[in-house]
């Protein structure tokens, strides 16, 4: 548990906490959408110092956690192909597929590389003209510009040996699905600041209206999160539902129009499967036909595969906000970050891993 003085702005943290205490008269259930925010809320001990009336449930905003098993298996299948170098973000390396992870595949001799940026994979393709370089492109709207741009660069360099295996997810359709779900009783959302710095706020206005739910686009530092929570509670206590921007110093209303244009040039919306949740309409991005030459699905004739999740892992219920990691019987026993049963234990942005590290800290303290 954090003490106030350990925060970088202890007075501000204290001030927001007091304000939140003061305005909260009833219990409220709030969801932070983004895994980065979950990580920060848990790691900074905010969930422990918030008033009891406020229940934070954790959203599905961890791209690693929601990448479907079937797609991970496709990545593994490509990695073992003779002439393929499979690349992805470091976060993907330990995510379990049906039988193994990419890290295990690498140990068994598959050519797998982990990069900070898809641009490094484009360079690899330029340096290895006789190899097929496939970038396993996962992520939310924040990552989509980089993945899309890598394709435009590959085209500009005239590369024919670079392609993307995509599993892209979008926030607003998932928010809608959560609101439609009768078992999730969310009173307000903290929107994901980084996602909005690309996409802007536009898509959230209709959600606020249709579902009469407040959304506050929020950053991920403790003070941001507390301010965002306060803004939500103030609205809720007054019976209001508005779209607000706590993070306006970073997020312009229109996002970054150039980045949005690049995404729209390369990708189009698609029905997307989210691991643990299922298929949500319009909740993902696939490559446009014009870019079929850079689409690993087309290039390698990959058949879509839907593989049911392990029965033991309750990730689906956690990702929809029905349950919390500590409700899972395997948490910290059969399932740990080094030996994850499900994806939320793999990535540091996953809710299970965030709780695991917190508990380890508390016990070690």
């Amino acid at each position: 548990m954090k003490y106030l003085k350990e925060y970088r702005d202890p007075e501000l943290v204290e001030k927001y906490l007091q304000e939140i205490e003061k305005v909260t008269t009833r219990p409220w259930v709030l969801m932070e959408f983004c895994g980065g925010q979950t990580h920060s809320l848990v790691k900074n001990g905010l969930i422990q110092i918030l008033p009891e009336k406020i229940r934070m449930v954790h959203g599905p905003g961890c791209p690693v956690c929601v990448t479907p098993l079937g797609v991970i298996d496709q990545a593994l299948q490509l990695a073992f192909k003779e002439d393929v170098i499979l690349c992805s973000f470091g976060d993907m390396l330990r995510v379990p597929g049906t039988e193994k992870s990419l890290l295990q595949a690498k140990a068994e001799g598959a050519e797998v590389r982990f990069f900070y940026s898809p641009m490094e994979a484009v360079q690899l393709a330029r340096d290895n003209p006789h190899k097929e370089v496939v970038f396993f492109a996962v992520g939310f709207e924040t990552t989509a510009p980089a993945n899309a741009l890598s394709v435009l660069h590959a085209r500009q360099y005239g590369l024919t040996n670079y392609s993307l295996l995509t599993s892209h997810v979008l926030v607003p359709p998932a928010m809608r699905a959560i609101l439609e779900d009768e078992e999730s009783h969310i009173d307000g959302f903290l929107g994901a600041g980084n996602v909005c710095s690309v996409m802007g706020l536009e898509d959230y206005a209709p959600i606020v209206q249709e579902y009469h739910i407040p959304i506050v686009v929020t950053g991920f530092e403790p003070v941001d999160l507390l301010q965002g929570i306060l803004m939500l509670i103030v609205q809720l206590e007054r019976g209001e539902a508005r779209l607000e921007n706590q993070y306006s110093r970073v997020v312009p209303y229109e996002g970054n129009p150039s980045a949005r244009a690049v995404i729209a040039e390369v990708f189009e919306p698609t029905h997307q499967e989210w691991r643990g949740i299922g298929v949500m309409p319009g909740s993902g991005l696939k490559m446009r036909k014009a870019f079929a030459a850079y689409d690993a699905n087309v290039k390698f004739g990959l058949a879509p595969r839907v593989i049911p999740d392990s029965q033991e892992c309750i990730a689906g219920e956690i990702l929809r906000g029905h349950k919390k990691p500590l409700d899972c019987p395997h948490f910290g026993k059969k399932c740990t970050p080094l030996n994850p049963l499900g994806a939320p234990m793999v990535s540091s942005e996953g809710a299970c891993a965030a709780y695991y590290h917190l508990m380890a800290e508390v016990e070690g303290a």
Binding site: R8, C34, G35, G36, S40, K43, N44, G61, C62, P63, V64, F89, G90, D91, L93, L103, K106, V112, R113, F114, F115, Y116, S117, P118, M119, E120, G139, F140, T142, T143, P145, A146, N147, L149, L152, H153, Q156, A192, N194, V195, S197, V198, G219, F220, E221, R249, V250, P252, N256, S258, A259, V262, S347, S348, E349
Partner: protein, 87 residues
């Protein structure tokens, strides 16, 4: 991997068509980043970089504050080379 990291543009190296490559300084780490989506960015500007691509401009004060936060709370692993994650 969702968090964008703020850094300062040290130099803009090359322009091939629309491709604008820059060296961006993140604390003691220097990385390549592409500025294609921020045509107005120039040397000395602060940018939010995600997966090697600058996604927006950000002011200096905000950049330094966010960077300090990421540093304190372990949000910079993405910048480390592959060996850092046991691959």
């Amino acid at each position: 991997m969702c968090l964008a990291i703020p850094g300062k543009i040290r130099s803009i190296e090359q322009t091939e068509g629309l491709i604008r490559r820059a060296k961006v300084v993140f604390g003691s780490i220097v990385k390549e980043a592409y500025l294609d989506m921020i045509p107005q960015a120039k040397e000395g500007d602060y940018v939010l970089v995600h997966a090697g691509v600058a996604i927006n401009l950000v002011n200096e004060e905000e950049a330094l504050k966010t960077f300090a936060h990421l540093q304190a709370y372990g949000g910079l692993e993405d910048l480390l080379p592959e060996e850092g994650i046991g691959g």
